[in-house]
Subunit: 138 residues, 2 copies
């Protein structure tokens, strides 16, 4: 049996001064610049409820990642043992979806400006979700 | 310019007593049964570092969702105003990726058993990530 695959259609794109994957911080709490999430025209309606001051999760497609990596040395530290990528935050993984918890600083018709988004300029955006408690949705 | 699309390849599947989307709880804190995430053989290596007791995020593809919905009445309540889906946790959205914060109860060679996973039986799994502070990765 072959499992089906699914097609992701980006709903927008990151605009950021970060242009180099190697220079981007490894974790959000190490700091990241202000960035914009610019929505494609077809998806502006879906962004209509976003408000300044809210915390949201931005889901990205880490388009420069390798998808054939199953184990890594965490945080690139060769002294740490090889670990399955599902137990790490490695950007190299079978489905390289980035999760970014950010605060909305400003809302425009076609974009939001956010703090602490560590994704390089041009990264495709897949989704934006409100942060709701600690738990998930279905 | 046509934006590129990206292909998701499921790395596993949910096994759950939940079989009906309508009956599934709307939010995780309303309770959900024990479930298993069963990894496809090709991705078992990537799960090798997961340990009992850890909290992880399970990313799913909400395969029964509608992708053409841009606005909803939050939580299906018609008294609440239509809201862009990026400001809601609606499962109906352009890229219906589910985020589930769960605790690992048991680890097997090809699966993990978790609490509080509100996804119906057979839901494709895209990724598993450790919960790391409040912030994100890149």
């Amino acid at each position: 049996m072959t499992d089906p695959t699914y097609e992701l259609r980006p709903i927008g794109r990151v605009e950021s001064p970060l242009t180099d994957r190697a220079a981007a911080p490894k974790q959000g709490d190490e700091g990241a610049p202000r960035a914009r999430v610019v929505f494609l025209p077809a998806f502006r309606e879906a962004a209509s409820g976003l408000r300044e001051g809210e915390e949201v999760l931005v889901l990205t497609w880490l388009h420069l990642s390798r998808r054939d990596v199953l184990s890594v040395h965490p945080r690139g530290d060769a002294k740490r043992p090889l670990t399955g990528v599902f137990a790490t935050r490695s950007p190299d993984r079978p489905n390289p979806i980035g999760l970014h918890a950010v605060a909305i600083e400003a809302v425009e018709e076609d974009a939001i400006t956010v703090r602490d988004l560590e994704a390089i300029d041009g990264t495709p955006v897949l989704d934006v979700k409100p942060v709701l408690g600690k738990r998930s949705e279905r």
